[in-house]
Amino acid sequence: MSPDLGKCSRSLLTCEKSNFLNEQSRHEVHVSRHCFNYKISLLLPECEVLPVRVENVIHNFSSYYLVRDLPVYKFLEEKWLATVVKKGSFYALSCKTRIDEDNVCALLPSGQLILSLDKDTYEHLGLEGRPSLYSHKKVMRYVVSVDLTNKSLVPGTKRYQQVLLCLKERVMLRSDFLLTTCHPGADKDGALHNLLSQYTYEECRPTLHSQTLKNLFCPSLHHSDLRGKGLSCTPNQFLEWLGAVNLNISCDNSAVSFLSTYMCPEPRAPVSQSVLCTVTGLIPPKDVCRLLKELRCYFAEPNFAAWVSLTVHGFVDCPVSWGAAEHGFFKGGENLYNFVCFKNQDYWLYKATGSEDACPP
């Protein structure tokens, strides 16, 4: 057998340890730079029901809109630029488009329009771009990035006309979009509704799902031992266990079991009940920040929990992961991060990416 059969594409995991009260702590930066979040999963050990305050925060998450068949050039129209794009905090991501086979489009809150295009579309479109970082000898994917807030893209300029022409006449890029503006109550005047009125769209709420897990073995973590040198398990074991809990995988197999030998990592302790809560939708980073803040307050009330965990999954088909760093899909476009918050306001931050992704910040 070829020795190459044993090789795997690279994946990266960064682990950080810091304190929320530390002035230099960059937890909010990390959260806000991860723009497109698909799913949040919250694990509260030693907890019977989801605390009301946390639930309230989740219920106040911003709605998102699903628009069918929206042409990309609409984002460039004056009305759109003025009402949503220039104001910032507007997120748009094409959905049901796969980044390894289709054209994917994303609009970042910074006003950057990012198009990840296959070779044929790129050649027809006529907008300057660069080859994808993760292409092989023959480039099959290009990334075009247009800064909509740039001065040269003011309506009426030559560049503006050219971009509009490309997206409107040469190749009419269109797809279903997920949109959100994350100001609470920013859409009072219904500007976005107005813009969307000529398309079929629906307003969606992030779906909350919560369950109580009984008699679970939880790994014991000590806030000082990030690397897992005895007081905690290793970061990788912990993430594996979190995944097992999320996927409802049994953790009490024997080492000789035929089916599975997976066991909860050591050191561990039995926990009578814990709450696992997931929120799915297009969740803007600001909402994640608010949830994180609320979790920090969670320890203010007396409880037995030593730690709580907050996992955020990004969209696998998003053209960016953190900031504007290019994101691709090789075997799975994983880009996720996980906060483990401790009683003393220490936190661990894990960030994981797959093979077609830059190292997380």
């Binding site: 050649e123 027809h124 479109l125 006529g126 907008l127 300057e128 040469r170």
Partner: protein, 220 residues
Amino acid sequence: MERVVLSRIPPDEKKLVGVRARHGKAAQQFTQAFLKSSIPRMSSDAIEDILLHRAVVLRYTRVKKTRGKKTKAKGLNAKERRELKVFQLKPEHQKYELFLPLHELWKQYVADLCNGLKPESNPQMIQQKLLKADFHGAVLTVVRSKCPSYVGTTGILVQELKHVFKIITKEDRLKTIPKRNSVFSVEMGDFITHIYGSRFELRSSERSAKKFKVKGNIDL
């Protein structure tokens, strides 16, 4: 020469050299006898033949016939053409309107070539004709290119070279566009045909004789 040989040797020289001179018949007989005894294998006729002296012309060449220099049309060589910029459009002639008549002419030409370009005519037949056709004067548009900035350029083809098309745009700009890695569209009335530039890298004169393959990779 003969005279010198036959002349009598002056007596004082005779004494000096120490030879006995013979003359006339005696000398001839002596020579014949001498030769016969020296070359006994040859007949006397053959010997006679050898002795016949022939004239060898030295220091004289025949005047070569000067072939009248072919009075070919005195063309320019490539260097001169380059220097004189014969095939370059002068800036003052780079006007789109100037080429509109050429375009009209080309439209007529294509219509003639394809028997009137009727909607019911067979597109494949037309394409076969167009492969051999001259495109000077056609309106070309780059519809697809590896280099995005060429995409969308449109204008009248004014010059076709082996590797590039030179077209003049509506803004009176002369643009040189490489054929390789681009796809061009040509509009003729209701017909639109695409030229895959990478397959078209020939001079238009050579193209009329070239046999195109039916199948082929049309990827850029």
